[in-house]
């Protein structure tokens, strides 16, 4: 133990309330500026409307901020919650925490979900949710000790800079000989020096005798954490069992959990083999279908993609039963042991890399023209240790590499770095620079939206080309799927509340490969149901992977195979068994609709959340350049002549690019109309008064907000 001096600046003892039917009905509220610690009750009406998890976070954050609150204002709050089923060890994927804050990238509310043990330990310590506002004057640790029933705010010096060492040392420091009892939330120097900081949520891997972590990556919540000078939030709790939530019907929980857990054990080895190779199987599949982002989303495949897919990582992963929460039989949280970085502070040392998952492989690999699994591992390791979101880092680096290759920026701007695609050493150098806030990395760390402004205004680059190729929407960098050929997934990204992240809807295969939704109305229906059901997992403290990554053998013979209705029914049964509130597949959707619409209104409150904010860079819709068009010429020519009945004889490629663009942009606008209508929103994308009344979220301040926007 090498930590320096510490001073407890606030301490609070409390009577712990055990979870009852999945809830403690209390939340922990902290203001670091004062500092103050208090325990508050969740009103019954709020519990009914917001359910838990992301719903509770949004309600707590809504009440902490006003329309003018900026991400680095003390009022901005980091809210973390589990959910009523969170912490059940028997049911696969029941350990998620959901985090929200006002984002440094988007300026609006962001949500991110993450594994690790923190959310369940927080709940069993007596709190359904945690809200932290204010700022500290120096490095601070928040320690929530559910066993001793005490919360401390501790100023601490001599802490390691990076999350890799910090989570391990703090586990050691607080565990009293039982490291399994500790979960640490921490960021790192990259979070402090960029806008794309992530949070690492830890758990102790007793089989390997080491601390592991998962990331709440999207939207820069780690940056907010670092800005508050919080170095870590630590939770301490002891044994967890299926009884810990005191479910309404224990036997029913056990039964449904057994069904789902056993099905996964039986079918995963036949299907995607998540327990052996995680999500790395997606790399070759996406590549085969021209969906693997390559060189800043210009192309969807590359002949070298096989070097960074399933076959590479199945040899590199350390075999083991790797769940990020107890008892998850999907067990997809893999890692690589004894990896030796060749750059940075850990150069030459053996480290454990948690990951990579598909998104990191595509973002820090193919999208940068890098097809070397060891470079991807090193970027994965340092991004986590520095507290950087691998998706935003990958997409931001891909953007600067394309800008460099097109001459929009030069070595004069990059500090002499050659940022051609495939330059793995300079890609790593940029990650180190981003973490320290130095050199060109300080600009890259601002994210794609701000880089576009800087490159145009300061470096004189072509603003319209930057807008077309800069892969962000709402200020958030795209996650790693090609959407050019799937209008439904363009909606999945462009209409997502927080920005282009696939956790709301992943419709590419249904739309592009299977053509299950040829009409706008069918696409709009899918862009209603899937975001709603996926939202529901975040309300309940659940991981969505067990829902549709492993499916029943007869699923393809059901009327709606994409929805995996057998599992949806199991989730309804699970919710009923824990909370005692009867639920059906339909009521799960209504629960989500309330929270989903409330989050849309939250965007509106913060100055966003209308049609203009649901826009996409053209690269997400079609070929920006002649080179892109000609790389898939047959496909695009066929669409122009077939679908759009355009005469292309004698026309050059630049003309065809322009006409195709006109058609595709018009289609996206029609899709918006159809989705807004289906969701009960105005043509400007705002929930109508009838919708908010139907959902019971017609709070006085919501009605005032709608009136201010002329919505009746």
């Amino acid at each position: 133990m090498h930590l320096g001096s510490s001073r407890t600046v606030a301490s609070f003892s409390y009577e712990r309330r055990d979870a009852h039917k999945g809830y403690t009905d209390r939340f922990l509220d902290m203001d670091l500026s004062r500092p103050s610690i208090s325990v508050k009750t969740v009103p019954l009406q709020i519990k009914k409307i917001f359910v838990g998890g992301r719903g509770y976070d949004l309600w707590l954050l809504w009440n902490a901020v006003d329309a003018g609150t900026q991400w680095d204002d003390p009022q901005n709050a980091i809210c973390i919650a589990s959910g009523p089923m969170g912490g059940t060890p028997a049911y696969p994927g029941s350990g998620k925490s959901i985090v929200t804050a006002i984002s440094p990238l988007t300026g609006s509310v962001i949500d991110s979900n993450v594994g690790g043990y923190f959310g369940p330990y927080l709940k069993f310590s007596g709190f359904d949710a945690l809200r932290i506002s204010g700022k500290c004057a120096s490095d601070t640790i928040v320690f929530i000790d559910g066993i001793s029933r005490k919360v401390d705010i501790i100023e601490m010096s001599g802490l390691p800079d990076d999350a890799y060492a910090l989570s391990s040392e703090l586990t050691d420091h607080f565990c009293q000989g039982k490291p399994m009892d500790i979960s640490v939330v921490s960021a790192g120097p990259g979070a402090a020096n960029t806008r794309m900081g992530c949070l690492n949520f830890s758990w102790y891997d007793s089989a390997r005798g080491r601390v592991r972590y998962k990331q709440a990556g999207r939207g820069g919540i780690g940056t907010v954490f670092a800005d508050k000078r919080i170095r870590a939030v630590v939770a301490r709790w002891e044994k967890v069992s299926v009884k810990s939530n005191n479910p309404a019907d224990l036997d029913a929980v056990k039964n449904v959990a057994r069904c789902h857990a056993q099905e996964i054990v039986a079918l995963d080895p036949k299907q995607n083999e998540m327990a052996r190779i995680g999500t790395t199987h997606l790399v070759p599949i996406m590549n085969d279908f021209d969906l693997l982002p390559t060189k800043n989303f210009q192309f969807g495949s590359h002949p070298a993609a096989f070097l960074i897919g399933r076959e590479a990582f199945e040899k590199l992963f350390d075999p083991g039963f790797d769940g990020c929460w107890k008892g998850c039989t999907v067990a997809c949280a893999h890692g690589v042991k004894d990896f030796v970085p060749f750059t940075g502070a850990y150069r030459g040392q053996r480290v454990f890399v948690d990951g990579p998952e598909y998104e990191t492989i595509a973002g820090c690999g193919s999208n940068l023209g890098i097809f070397d699994p060891y470079t991807i591992l090193e970027m994965n390791f340092y991004c986590d240790a520095y507290g950087l979101d691998t998706i935003s880092v990958g997409t931001a680096l891909a953007f600067v590499m394309e800008c460099f290759e097109r001459g929009l920026i030069t070595t004069d701007h990059t500090g002499g770095l050659d940022l051609s695609f495939g330059n793995r050493l300079n890609a790593l150098e940029l990650v180190h620079q981003m973490a320290s806030g130095s050199g060109f990395g300080a600009i890259v760390g601002q994210g794609v939206r701000r880089m576009k402004g800087i490159f145009a205004k300061t470096f004189g680059a072509d603003a319209s080309l930057l807008n077309d190729i800069g892969m962000e929407s709402k200020g958030l960098e795209f996650s790693e799927y090609m959407t050019k050929e799937s209008l439904a997934q363009q909606g999945g990204y462009g209409l997502a509340l927080k920005g282009p992240q696939h956790d709301e809807a992943w419709l590419i295969f249904l739309d592009m490969v299977h053509n299950f939704m040829p009409t706008f109305e069918q696409k709009a229906e899918a862009l209603h149901w899937f975001p709603m059901f996926r939202t529901w997992f975040g309300l309940c403290g659940l991981c969505k992977l067990p829902w549709n990554d492993i499916v029943p053998e007869d699923n393809k013979d059901t009327p709606e195979p994409a929805k995996v209705m057998k599992h949806v029914q199991w989730y309804a049964d699970y919710y009923t068994a824990v909370t005692g509130n009867p639920a059906s597949p339909e009521t799960l959707i209504t629960m989500s609709e309330r929270v989903y619409n409330f989050q849309r209104l939250f965007n509106l409150k913060m100055g966003f959340g209308t049609r203009e904010h649901d826009s996409l860079p053209y690269r997400a819709m079609g070929p920006v350049t002649v080179e892109e068009y000609e790389s898939r010429q047959q496909r695009y020519d066929d669409q122009l002549t077939g679908t759009h009945q355009v005469d292309i004889i004698g026309k050059d490629t630049a003309w065809k690019v322009a006409v195709l663009r006109e058609k595709r942009e018009a289609q996206y606008e029609l899709l918006k109309d159809a989705v807004y209508k289906r969701r009960g929103w105005t043509s400007d994308g705002i929930p109508t008064v009838a919708t908010v009344k139907r959902l019971g979220i017609d709070f006085p301040d919501v009605m005032t907000l709608l009136a201010a926007h002329g919505v009746k």
């Binding site: 070759p284 998104e359 696939h502 590419i508 490969v513 549709n548 013979d557």
Partner: protein, 65 residues
């Protein structure tokens, strides 16, 4: 004999994966299959020969990462 999801089907010489799946009532819904443990995607069904004794398991592809 070849096996799809452990069910036996007659094997023919020069048979491709596309030929085999075309004989199934729902063969057109498969986008990815595991072919003797290796992933094969639809764009490669027509160029993949099926040897006698091959084991094929359709892989559901409805979820992203």
């Amino acid at each position: 004999m070849v096996f799809i999801d452990d069910k036996p089907y007659a094997w023919q010489a020069d048979m491709t994966l596309a030929d085999l799946l075309a004989r199934l009532p729902d063969g057109d819904i498969y986008a990815v299959v595991k072919f003797d443990g290796k992933l094969i995607s639809r764009p490669f069904f027509a160029s993949t020969m099926v040897p006698d004794g091959a084991r094929i398991v359709p892989v559901p592809m409805i979820a992203g990462g």
